[in-house]
Symmetry: C2
């Protein structure tokens, strides 16, 4: 638990954090490496790559979107042949969403492009700044999940 007696410092930090996250997310939306996939779709594929497979409800909770939104996202991914929907073995209300092999190939390809884009953007950072950001990336993910 952070020491919140340093309220002023924390307030400045959270200000910068919020502002930076919002602005960066806006740029990420537009400078995305794969034109055919929205950030939300990309994020779901990333989650599936980590988890293996999940139900739409689980995905909605993990991605912090409402179930109807996840229905739409999963449907789009299925149309593009990137996920497969199968009946749940124990509960016939639920479905199981699984990543296809095509998604794995696409993610690998996308990873290469992303590095190129990152290299260009990170060219404006010095080594220390980049190290700071690399250390913060997993914490940011954790924070987003809390």
């Amino acid at each position: 638990m952070p020491d919140l007696s340093r309220a002023a410092e924390d307030a400045a930090a959270v200000n910068a954090l919020r502002s930076g996250v919002m602005r960066l997310s806006r740029r990420l939306k537009h400078q995305r490496v794969d034109e055919s996939l929205s950030p939300a779709e990309m994020s779901v594929l990333g989650t599936l790559a980590r988890c293996g497979s999940a139900t739409p409800g689980e995905l909605a909770r993990k991605e912090h979107v409402q179930p109807p939104s996840m229905t739409r996202i999963v449907a789009l991914l299925e149309t593009k042949g990137l996920v497969r929907l199968e009946p749940h073995p124990e509960d016939r209300r639920q479905k199981v969403v699984t990543q296809t092999e095509r998604a794995e190939v696409m993610l690998e390809e996308s990873r290469r492009k992303r590095n190129a884009w990152l290299a260009e953007l990170a060219g404006g950072l010095d080594e220390d700044e980049w190290a700071t950001l690399r250390a913060a990336a997993p914490v940011l993910e954790k924070l987003a999940h809390l």
Copy 2:
């Protein structure tokens, strides 16, 4: 300039960064402390608090949005009495956007609420993680501006 021979590490970091930024931005949109202000409006007020005043065009460039979007954002802020629009002293095509006193009061109030929200969320982080995030906040902002 980062050493990009560590491509695999960098790829993992940017993955986590992108994913974390997108998810966190989605949560920030909904868990915002002031219900009457969108994240974009909030961000513009933050910029104005730092810069003093600016023209709509300058704000659009700084926030990485197109001019028509900034027109709308500024109009909403004016409706809420948070900014004032004045004619530019030298160029009659331009306008000058200035923060009102009401905005300053609101920002101060908002800062308190934000701390409360942050304290709750940050409760799930340990001291090191929080320190990492605090160090990364300004770098994130810089990255968003590059």
